[in-house]
Symmetry: C2
Subunit: 207 residues, 2 copies
């Protein structure tokens, strides 16, 4: 398969290309674009070979063409359907965020097990009981399962998702999930990000 | 200064060491630990040189000793004080998350400009008007400013933080902040994470 790091860099290239396009930049060399995100020109070209070998046209790339191509490949023009389990603080923030919708990622159903939450509205959806999850997944096509339940139940909820056909999970729970090899998992560890900032600050203060 | 990537990897080592310790593993070689996070043994040793050159003791490292040392360096034993601006969906989720508190990161004040939000309780704090931010920062020591306001106002709020002494910002707003070189910024782009997962899924389906 493709190296995880490539998959992690492509959205970053996309974001920089969007900004360059908004600033009216028409062309950029692989060295310049690589420098924006911290990779060598040859690493960048190697990364781009995964999107169908986008060739350089004269001096570097045409920003808008590469942006277009990357958007397609990153699925920005396809409706990507997400379900979410764990309609708590973080879950509600994610479902209410229209930034994801603008990129083509749509929440189609939300589940929880707390009677106080079930039946309440989040965005345009009503929270359903998590016991309905297997039925839902067997009736409707879903691309990604988002896991925002407490760490104590993350493993079992992830297993329910996978047993009912989910092949990709976006998890915020601070546990290592143990799932079959064919399941793609993306862990977002918010605390890693905060810790690395705190460390950089601490290190700088010691200089 | 230190390379950003090192600062980003150290919390990941920490997380793996905690898990190893919980599983009762006493020693690990630099090659094994590196493999857990996807770096070579020599990269790992280079990374560890930033925490005061933690030496290998016989076969590899003692897991608990390295975990201890990394925790100190990542500030887990120090109260790190955070303020947050933008007490909306995401801001409230972050303030209410006790995972950060357990790691030693404490929110000390929250600010917003919405009359409907100001004065309401989030966690144990009352949301203050963002006009109070300069006074607050000049009266109390704060380590990190967390930015969870809409992208349209992110730059101006970040500037207010910096003008009043904040040296490190954790930003969730999808804009490139333009700040003086001495300010450390950690952008958490949730959409990058989701996009990389969607791409891996798309790529796999095409195989
Ligand atoms: N809030 C943050 O900023 C943050 C940061 C890092 C990690 N996390 C992680 O994200 C997850 C969610 O955090 P949160 O702050 O939203 O917590 P929360 O307690 O507000 O939300 C958890 C939700 O999951 C529901 N739930 C519990 N068991 C369930 C089950 N078996 N099936 C379905 N739903 C169930 C609860 O009823 C609740 O609504 C946690 O694993 C947390 O460790 C959160
Ligand atoms: N919610 C998510 O999952 C998510 C994901 C990715 C990025 N983000 C980004 O995080 C930020 C917050 O997202 P959200 O979903 O919590 O939005 P939100 O609209 O729920 O919260 C924004 C808050 O900022 C406050 N605010 C606006 N202008 C202000 C000012 N000048 N001073 C102080 N407070 C001000 C608003 O009153 C509101 O309470 C946004 O930049 C968003 O793009 C959010």
């Amino acid at each position: 398969g493709m190296p995880l790091r490539v998959a992690q860099r492509l959205p970053v290239y996309l974001r920089h290309l969007r900004e360059l396009s908004e600033m009216g930049v028409e062309r950029i060399s692989s060295a310049e674009l690589g420098a924006l995100i911290g990779v060598t020109s040859s690493q960048l070209k190697q990364d781009l070979s995964y999107i169908g070998g986008f060739g350089q046209q004269g001096y570097g790339f045409r920003v808008d063409d590469l942006y277009e191509k990357l958007s397609q490949v990153l699925g920005l023009d396809q409706r990507c359907k997400l379900i979410l389990v764990g309609a708590g603080n973080l879950g509600k923030a994610l479902v209410n965020y229209d930034g994801f919708r603008r990129l083509g990622y749509h929440f189609v159903a939300i589940f929880d097990n707390d009677p106080a939450t079930i039946g309440s509205r989040v965005g345009v959806m009503e929270v359903q009981h998590v016991d309905e999850l297997p039925n839902y997944l067997r009736s409707y096509r879903v691309d990604i399962g988002v896991l925002t339940v407490p760490e104590t139940v993350a493993q079992e909820v992830a297993e329910t998702m996978v047993e009912n056909g989910i092949k990709a999970i976006w998890s915020f729970a601070p546990v290592q999930l143990r799932l079959p090899g064919h399941v793609l998992v993306e862990h977002l560890h918010l605390s890693d990000s905060l810790m690395s900032l705190a460390f950089r600050l601490h290190y700088r203060r010691q200089q």
